[in-house]
Assembly symmetry: C2
Homo-oligomer: 338 residues x 2
Amino acid sequence: MTVNGRPQAPLMTNTQADRVKEVARLAGRPSRLRRREFLAEGPQAVREALRLHGHRQDDGGVVVDVYATAEALDRHPDIAEQLVAVDAPAVRRVTADVLAAMSSTVTPQGFIAVCRFLDRSLDDVLSTAPRLVAVLVEVRDPGNAGTIIRAADSAGADAVILTGASVDPYNPKTVRSTVGSLFHLPLVIGAELDGLQDRLRSAGLTVLAADGYGPLSLDDLQDASASRRLTTGGQGNAAAPTGKKPASGVTAAGIPAGIPAGVPFDRADAESGAGRSVRLEDPAAWLFGNEAQGLAPEISAAADARVAVPIYGNAESLNVGTAATVCLYASARAQRLD
Amino acid sequence: MTVNGRPQAPLMTNTQADRVKEVARLAGRPSRLRRREFLAEGPQAVREALRLHGHRQDDGGVVVDVYATAEALDRHPDIAEQLVAVDAPAVRRVTADVLAAMSSTVTPQGFIAVCRFLDRSLDDVLSTAPRLVAVLVEVRDPGNAGTIIRAADSAGADAVILTGASVDPYNPKTVRSTVGSLFHLPLVIGAELDGLQDRLRSAGLTVLAADGYGPLSLDDLQDASASRRLTTGGQGNAAAPTGKKPASGVTAAGIPAGIPAGVPFDRADAESGAGRSVRLEDPAAWLFGNEAQGLAPEISAAADARVAVPIYGNAESLNVGTAATVCLYASARAQRLD
C-alpha cells in the first residue's frame, strides 16, 4: 500500500510491541540521553517539529519517526501534506491504543513525533551575535521552564540557555508547555555556570540578574530607555527634565527630574569599566533563578546589574515565569524601538 | 494541656476519623460549595490566611480550623505566634499521616487551614472605585488562574473577577499556585457575562480585551502613554515629533511622528462617545479569555478596545498567564507614573 506515492507500513495494533515500548521510554530521561531523542506530542508540536525538520535537512533533519492515528490524519490534512513537503519519514499509522501506550499524556491527540535533540553548543549560539538571551539557572519545574521558553520565543529572544542543574527541556511536560516554541529558537543545555557570565559578556551581552532584592528597578531602566528614545531619538543623551514628581509611594518607579544617559552599573565602576551603564536597549542576557531560592547571591552579584521587577501589590514574590515574561518583554520593547 | 494559655485538643492520630475525611473532601467542589469553605495548604498559604483573618474579625474571620504537625509548628514558630496574635482558632495538632490524609498535595509541609470563602459581590467590589481589574472569562486551567491572580496581585490590581464558566479559584491547585495572593485582593466569582462590561464601564473602567487578533498593539498604548507623560507631564496633549522612524518590521511597535492624545477607540466613535480614546493610564478592566479559544468574538467586540500583546518572535500565541502579566504590568506602570 502506498500513500502519496510512498510505501506505507502496516497499521500498528500491538501495544506490547518493542517499538511501542521504546517510544514510551522516551518519557524518561535515561532513555532520552542514550538515544538523544525526545517526544513531541500532539498536532501543534508535530507541525512545528516538521517545520524545523524542513529547515535542517542538511543536518539530517529533526524528525525521526511520526506516529498517527487514521482519525488524526483525517482531521489534520495539513500535517499529511507537510510530511511530504519537508521530506519527513513516512508516517506510521497506529491505533488509538498504541498511541496511548506510547504517550506520556492522557490526550496525545493522535500524533507523536520522535525527534532528535535540538540543542546547540554555547559557542555556536554566542557566535551568532544574539541580542536577547534568557538563561535559566537551576529552574527545576518543567512547566516553568516551558513557560519561559515560550515567553522568550514570544519576546523574540535569540536563544535560551539552561544551566546544568536546570530541568531537562526534553521532558514531555516542558515540551508540551512550550506549545511548539522549543522548535523556534536555539537552546543550549547543561551550560557550565563557571565562566558563563564572562562568555556572555565577551559576546557583547550585558548580563542582567532578575533578582527581587536587586537595587535597580526594571521600571527605572524602562523609564531611562523611553526617555532617551523620545527626547533624543535614542542617542542616549540626557533627557530634558519633565518637571513631574513621582506619585507618592512609587518613588522607585518614578522619573527623576533629569534622567541620565544610562542607569549606573550595580557593580563597582572600577570592575565594569568607568562610565559604563546599563541601557535596556543594549543586547542583554537575563539570568532567571530557581523557583524557591532565586539566584544564588554570588551569581547575582557577578552580573552587570541586579534588576528587580517591581511588585506594586501585596504579593511576596513573583513566579519565575511571570518575572521572566516582564523582563524579556521590557528588553524586547526597548531594543526594537531603539 | 495548654499552649499559650489556651486549652489544647489532643493529638489527632486516626487517619480514618470523620473530621479527617471532611477536611479531605474540601479538595472536591461539591463539598466546598456546600460548606463554603476551602483548603489553604502549606505554611505560606496559612500565614496569609491568618493575616487576612486578623483583618476580618468583624465578619467572623477567615480561618475556621488550623491543622499542623508538631514538627511544622517547631519549624515555623512565627505561625504559632500569629495564631495567637490574630485570635485564630486553636491549632489542632495532627500526625504527619493525618495531615497527609487531609491534604490534596503530596507535600502539605505540615500545615492546613480550613478557610471560609472570601469572594465578594461584583457590586461590592465595583463600589470601591477600582483602578485596575483582571477579568477571567472562562479561564479553565487551575494553574493559569492561579498565575493570573498572583500576577494581578503583583501588579497591584484592585480585584480579580472570574466569570461563571471559569475554574473554581478555591480548587486546591489554584490556591497553591497563587502562593498566598488569593488572600491579598478581592475576588468576584461566578460573575454573569451578560451586562458585565456595562457595569465595569459604569464603575469608571475602560474595558480592554486582551485579544491576539486585536487591531491595537499594547506597544502603541504604552508609547502613547509614555509620550504624554514625558513631554507634557501626563496631561495627555500631543507629543512632539521624535523624528525617528520605527525599525523595519516593527511598524506596529514604532512611534508615529506625532503621537495623538490617546489611541482612538476600537469601537465606532458614535457608540463610545465622540473624541474618547484609550489611555493606558486610565482605570481599566482587562478581559482575559479561555486558554484554547481566547475571548469569544462577541465579548471581545463589545470591549472598548481589543488589544494585542505583540509577538516579536515565532510563537503562535501567548499563554494566557503570560499575556495577562504583560497587560497588567503595562497598565500598572502607566497608572502609577501618571
